[in-house]
């Protein structure tokens, strides 16, 4: 299996690259990056070729690509790959607007290539276990979920709305909403959001408390803020407090860590849990290998999550509840 990565703009590309190197019978055949310096750096690091032109890159013998460019470029890169007949794993958010996302989905379907949205949290071992506990009825009927997906401000193009399409709300809403859709098997019906710009000194949203109601009556909240300060012991979190009729489950997905205290770095977490990014890539490759007609996390899943984030912006703008269905 031959796989390449389109752009190292997104910080996750490095982790996906590492996963490619570790997975058996996978060849990491090249890096396409229009940023010459970055492209050379990572192709050297991973011992692979660098292309600065996407057409040259897609001409080579290649089964699939991972798109980790700036959010606004997802559309162009995914469509180019699909037209060249390559399967695509696209970083989240799938796109910056619904029309683009739908077009990407349609073209991938037309060209018979898989389009998977990169929601690695579905492969976090504790999140998988959470879903099992829910399915097995340990919580009874689910009533409510309080979620967080906070982080340090990622800086660079993430805070440039022309490249990212949105700040913390777009960046951090999609993971947890995807997980909740996956857990509940229900779609979000209403969204309300309080959004702020407090932490970054940039003209971009960096904090938000979102409230959702699902079609099945479950209500949820999500803190998607870039509110972790620079010296916080970990980059961010995914936590869920799940209230059911029979029980309650507290989930802190990255709380498999050591507490490390050093004079130089202060207090930091050292994570020892499983690598969800590697499991995501394995899953994508497995879907290609076994000839599945759709990815385990589809482009539509990406679109649904995007719709919720966009509804949050609309809600904040209008100071009103937004209905999705």
């Amino acid at each position: 299996m031959k796989i390449g990565i389109i752009s190292f703009a997104h910080i996750h590309a490095e982790s996906y690259g590492r996963a490619l190197k570790r997975i058996e019978d996978v060849e990491f055949v090249g890096v396409m990056d229009e940023d010459e310096e970055r492209g050379r750096k990572y192709s050297l690091f991973f011992g692979t070729r660098h292309f600065s032109n996407i057409n040259d890159f897609l001409m080579q013998d290649l089964d699939a690509v991972i798109v980790t460019s700036e959010n606004v470029q997802h559309k162009e890169h995914v469509i180019a790959a699909a037209l060249a007949g390559k399967h695509v794993l696209c970083e989240k958010p799938i796109a910056v607007n619904k029309i683009d996302a739908q077009e990407m989905i349609d073209i991938c379907r037309e060209k018979n290539v898989l389009l998977q949205t990169a929601f690695p949290v579905r492969f976090n071992t504790s999140i998988i276990r959470t879903r099992e506990l829910i399915k097995n009825g340990h919580l009874g009927e689910i009533i409510a979920v309080k979620g967080t997906n906070r982080g340090q401000c990622p800086g660079s193009w993430f805070v440039d709305i022309n490249k990212s399409g949105g700040g913390a709300v777009l960046d951090h809403t999609v993971h947890v909403t995807d997980i909740l859709r996956w857990f509940l098997g229900s779609e979000v019906r209403t969204v309300y959001a309080e959004i702020g710009s407090m932490f970054t000194n940039q003209l971009i949203d960096d904090s938000g408390i979102l409230s959702f109601e699902f079609e099945n009556g479950v209500f949820a909240s999500l803190d998607c803020s870039w509110s972790r300060n620079a010296t916080y012991p970990i980059w961010g979190d995914i936590t869920l407090e799940i209230i059911g009729t029979k029980g309650r489950l507290s989930v802190d997905a990255f709380n498999q860590k050591l507490n490390v205290f050093t004079n130089k770095m202060g207090y930091n977490h050292s994570y020892w849990g499983d690598d969800m990014d590697e499991e995501l890539i394995k899953d994508f490759i497995n879907s290609i290998r076994t000839g599945k007609d759709q990815a385990s996390i589809t482009g539509e899943d990406g679109l649904r999550a995007l719709e919720i984030a966009l509804a949050a912006y609309e809600s904040s703008e209008n100071k009103a509840v937004v209905s999705l269905v």
Partner: protein, 336 residues
């Protein structure tokens, strides 16, 4: 056990209304104060007590007045819907009042309580005790020093098991106002103390969804100063805990009573293999209840303005009721 009192030094003769959980906690706190004498408790349900008490028990407020004994302060610790009735009785008798939170079940009642006390020229102190919890006092102090910069997002949790009170009044929404009015109001008032008035509130909750002995709510407050606060209230937990997190531009402060505790007593399991319940404790020389009641008495003594005014208490009721209204209507509720 009789407390030895040098009569001349007693400044405050306190009559407690209601000997439920909070009444008992207040009695404990007053007992530690040298200048306070609890003269009695009004509680129709407490008459058959065979414990040796150092105070009298009255079945009605009138009975307590008829003794002719000196009363300086009436401390109202009865369920919320009874506040107005006892406030009026105390105010009619020209007695200063300490009243448990929430001030009232409705805005109209709350306003009537305040007006009545003003008209009768008696002091009214509302027991929003969170303002006297040292962890809360401390976090406010740090925020005000801007140690974490400008605050952007705040999260609070107040969780416990479903409360069992007199006549199961907590599960009667009409009486108690449920989780938000009775419990989350603590955090609402505290956050108002920190950040001032709010612009709007939005909330989701179990209210009206028919879950027995379980209530859960997630509330978002937007303050005029821009701060976004998320408040979790739960009567769906198995033990009490409270937590907060303040995220600022250059730092974060968090506290969780479930994790940050100096003592936890674990009894060995009994032969049947059960038991082993953990009992946490956070001992202080004086409890937050003591600090609160002491502050109110000192305000009376020196004619000072309390840290929490009756108007603050009414505003907290207003926000709590608006959160409930938001759950009902699925809409944000705007403040002027």
């Amino acid at each position: 056990m009789k407390k030895l009192l040098e009569e001349g030094k007693v400044m405050f003769h306190v009559l407690i209304i209601g000997a439920g959980t909070m009444g008992k906690i207040h009695i404990q706190a007053f007992r530690q104060m040298k200048d306070v004498k609890v003269v009695g408790v009004v509680d129709p349900n407490q008459l058959d007590s065979n414990k040796e008490l150092d105070y009298q028990v009255f079945s009605t407020f009138q009975q307590a007045l008829e003794t002719g004994d000196r009363i300086d302060v009436v401390d109202i610790c009865v369920p919320t819907p009874l506040h107005l009735e006892y406030v009026k009785k105390a105010a009619d008798a020209k007695l200063n009042i300490i009243c448990e939170k929430p001030l009232a079940r409705s805005l109209e009642e709350g306003q009537e309580i305040i007006n009545y006390c003003n008209r009768k020229s008696v002091k009214l102190y509302v027991a929003h005790v969170l303002r006297f919890f040292p962890e809360f006092v401390k976090v406010k102090e740090i925020i005000e020093k801007e140690t974490i910069g400008k605050v952007g997002v705040v999260r609070t949790t107040r969780a416990g098991s479903f409360p069992i009170g007199w006549n199961d009044w907590y599960s009667d929404y009409q009486s108690s106002g449920g989780l938000i009015l009775d419990m989350v109001i603590h955090d609402i008032d505290f956050l108002r103390w920190c950040f001032g008035d709010i612009e709007r509130v939005y909330a989701k909750g179990t209210l009206g969804k028919g879950f027995d002995n379980l209530e859960y709510a997630l509330i978002t407050l937007r303050f005029i100063n821009g701060v976004i606060a998320h408040l979790e209230g739960s009567w769906a937990h198995d033990s009490f805990s409270m937590s907060f997190e303040f995220s600022g531009t250059v730092g974060i402060i968090d506290y969780n009573s479930a994790n940050d505790k100096p003592l936890e007593l674990h009894s060995h399991s009994n032969k049947e293999g059960s038991g082993g319940v953990a009992v946490p404790e956070s001992p202080l020389n004086t409890t937050p209840y003591y600090r609160e009641l002491r502050h109110f008495l000192d305000c009376m003594k020196y004619g000072a303005e309390p840290i929490v005014t009756a108007e603050d208490a009414l505003e907290a009721v207003k926000i709590a009721l608006s959160a409930i209204e938001s759950i009902r209507t699925s809409k944000p509720i705007f403040f002027n």
